[in-house]
Amino acid sequence: MRLGVGTGWWRSSFGLVAIVGIVFALTTLAIGVIAYVATHEALEQQLDHRIATETAALIDEGDDGPEGVAVAIRRREAARSTASLDFLLVDPDGRTVAGSLGATVPALPGYVELLPYERNGEQRIAQSLTTLLPGGHRLLVAADRAPIDEMDRSLLKLFVGTFGLMLVLGIGAAWIVGTVTRRRLASIHGTAQAIIGGDLGQRVPVSGAGDEFDDVAVTLNRMLDRIGLLIDNLRQVSSDVAHDLRTPLTRLHNRLDEALATDDREGQRGAIAAASAQSRELLDIFAALLRIAEVEGIGSQAHFKPLDLSALVEGVDETYRPDMEASGHSLTADIAPDITLHGDRRLMQQLLTNLLDNALSHTPAGTTVHLSLTLSGGRTLLVVTDDGPGVADGEGARLFQRFARGERSRTSDGHGLGLALVAAIAAAHGGSARLMPGPGFKVAIEL
């Protein structure tokens, strides 16, 4: 976030509002200029029109020549009926015949916009029309320009004032908006800086005004919470992995030490074989961890295809039946036909085999394992349940985490990764895996 000067300064909120303010002020100025010119012209035309009308009237009244015009002028001046108009009639030699206008009559007939004249010893400006009468007399009719000038001045004052006000308001608004925006952004900026600096607990302050800045702050905070949760999760997983790999690594190390320490060829072979088995187990753990990470990381379900879940479950049921029977378990199944799923065939098979492997390795002979696939309310429900010892209360959700093992299965083999993979596969298919209340062990996969 850059609010300073530079090529893009106008993109800051101060710049944007200032530009809007200046545009408004300039528009006002342009309108002012147009109105000023139009008013000015209209007033001048109006004056011209009055002068022309009066001139025509005078000539009309004095139709018998300059004498008549002079009489008409005197009559008007006496009556003071046309206070704003002044007259002057001069003979061909320029001598005044009638009228009191204190000015020199222009030599040529026609309009003169700015005619200097004198009234009561004061120099003034008038607008005038000089008319050449038959016989060489010249009639000058003039109107004082004071009203026009006055109007001009008023308009000028009005528009300059408005322009100035708009400018001040615009810049002021820009400053206020700029300052407020900068202050709010600075708090977000500060939080981000603190997080970059390593303080992941920082959150963007929410003013409580409920404005758009608060909306952004709340969203950012939720994002930070989510990231925090993921990072915690990752830390937990990493430390679990490190912790749980230490045991097999230690065993491997011990076996190799044992092999080194003994001179007995047979003993060495045995120790190396055990070490090899340990390393195999480590590789299996890594493979399982990678598989879980991979399933959790399935971003797109691009390779998912429609598959016949009923047939798949039947196939796994059939595959496991001999082993179940061989170990003294019994497997029963209740599979609704024609249930399809958009998913990965091998992953779904792995999900099922993990659950059945679990049941086989954690329950005693004589246990019945039941497999059911049903469709209810548009959701597919896959349940694997057994009437074995089940798990201790409160172990429920934890069992779906990596390396989590039930207290009762501590002694049996396995690494606590099977159910984590089950949960990951269910999640990758937009479903969930959960432990249902006993008796026995009961896992429901909702898809």
Partner: protein, 224 residues
Amino acid sequence: MRILIIEDDAETNRFIARGLTELGHQVVVSHDGRDGLFQAMEGGFDALVIDRMVPGLDGLSLVRALRAAGNAAPVLMLTAIGGIADRVEGLEGGADDYLVKPFAFSELAARVSALGRRQAATADPARLVAGDISIDLNRRTVSRAGQRVTLQPREFALLAELVRNAGRVMTRTMLLERVWDFDFDPKTNIVETHLSRLRSKLNAGFDTDAIETVRGAGYMIRGG
């Protein structure tokens, strides 16, 4: 068999080459994709073992280039990433088999020999024969020395796979992939259990075991 190995990791390359040579195969090695493609194009190989991530030209592009050039030498692809979509991509790209690292050498050896030229198809494509075992794929019937044997569908599929590859060792994971379509290894010994059931049905009334167990490697049916 004459085998070309294209693998950049010297350790893995040596490990595979030594093992295959000990088994009596003639081995040529290459450490680079481009060089490997050049050698493979010269032909004369019965099988190619190609790492998916070799420098120069990656394994997948290499196989595509080979196939595009009309070279049909069977390919076993090796990979360190057992990605879910990865395997499908490899097989669709023209590889004949796919093996994820780390692997036991016996697994690789079994897969390489399984890649070798298949026996000439019998006159009847719906009939598979190995030794005294005969399978009718259409009627889904099995007989040993003319005597009918009744099998479960999965046992039938298992036997058909073994007979189809008669004379070659099939490993546990190969059977899991081909008979069950599992790309993972379940904890439960489903292969062993099914094999023992299949065996007891096939061997009933006979003195010789129809299915040979190759220690540390897998299972095999003799004869062709």
